[in-house]
Symmetry: C2
Subunit: 227 residues, 2 copies
């Protein structure tokens, strides 16, 4: 069995949650039934939204260092539990012969698994991810996004709370934004930043369908590993 | 900053929990404040208790492959979130120039942190760990262990439930065994198998001090990373 490579650390808590979901979603009776995995958790990768929106340092060199490490370790495929990093997907995929399983494809499969066809869907993500139109262009489904003041005043601070280990504090603003998208007509809400499902899981379940992109990517990785 | 190497996958859920604790216990405001870490999660390592007690396959070659991988990735120290694997500690440490932070030393530090001096302490672990006298000899504190029928009838099946992703089912037998050790006079109970704290966390908190060896090892790793 080829090892799975996880290019992580963006953020590290989301990577730990990815490893947990990967394990819990794998049918297994003992250690040896689980998927051999290398997690390259390098939280020093420059901030992806900063790079995209504010002219910050380019994360691509750090991302490619991680990919080289996963190649050297003998991995057979790569997943990246960070949505915004997928803004550099084409450059990363051009730079490695290993397949990189795209998180938006995993999210699309999860929509199908939940029986959700068509939109509009609500899209929550970093300002970088929204600015890149990562979901809008690859999903081909109408996406409703938060107003810019909500995005900067609630979503981005909540993502920052998760990265600062204040997960429980992230619930209220994230739930409020998700409910706002639902009121605007979203049939489901895409939690399109890997910190967001952690915050949303820290309180009562939302009363409408959501897509956890950490779990979706774990399912995609299990699909790769099983055949 | 040198990267931390985690030789994991024994089991993979305990490794994910180690990554979560490592992250949550690190003082951080943003991704870049967290500790760069490589997790080598290879659940194919032969079962350590089988090897020790029943003449099963030697895990050392697989453990050394992981250590070689962590060396090649540029790690500066290694932790192993599996107590029983420490039965091969001397051979692993002799085979690498990187320091391997011993989980029993981390557990001893956690006892001090909790203000627990002297014993007896209750010791829960795999049959391999108990047979090796890993804690008894390195801690220098009297350890009370479950009777053999309880060990084989409750502790080992509960460890197996966690490895099979049935974490909630592991709570009742583990809590019962811990309470039995407490009744025999244990001032605290050492959860000396990295699956056990996961099972114990799946229900109401125990009403006496326990040592979570996953969290203890995470604290030791943070201590190394912070210098």
């Amino acid at each position: 069995m080829k090892m799975l490579g996880v290019l992580g650390g963006m953020g590290p808590l989301a990577s730990a949650e990815f490893m947990r979901q990967l394990t819990l979603l794998t049918p297994a009776e003992r250690d040896q039934d689980h998927i051999p995995t290398i997690l390259w958790s390098d939280p020093r990768v420059p901030d992806r939204t900063e790079a995209r929106v504010h002219g910050g340092e380019d994360p691509l060199p750090a991302l490619m260092r991680g990919i080289r490490g996963l190649e050297a370790a003998g991995c057979g495929a790569i997943v990246i539990p960070c949505n915004t990093a997928h803004g550099w997907y084409d450059a990363m995929q051009a730079g490695t012969s290993l397949p990189i399983l795209h998180i938006v494809d995993a999210a699309a499969e999860e929509l199908r698994r939940q029986g959700i066809a068509g939109g509009p869907i609500g899209l929550m993500g970093t300002t970088g991810t929204l600015d890149m139109r990562l979901y809008q262009e690859r999903l081909g489904i109408e996406c409703l996004t938060p107003d810019p003041d909500v995005q900067e005043g609630q979503v981005m601070p909540a993502v920052g709370l998760v990265k600062a280990n204040r997960v429980a504090d992230a619930y209220a603003p994230l739930a409020e934004v998700a409910r706002g998208l639902r009121r605007r007509g979203a049939v489901a809400v895409m939690l399109g930043c890997t910190e967001i499902p952690l915050g949303v899981a820290a309180g009562p379940a939302l009363e409408f369908p959501v897509v956890d992109t950490v779990a979706a990517l774990a399912r995609a990785a299990i699909g790769w590993a099983r055949g």
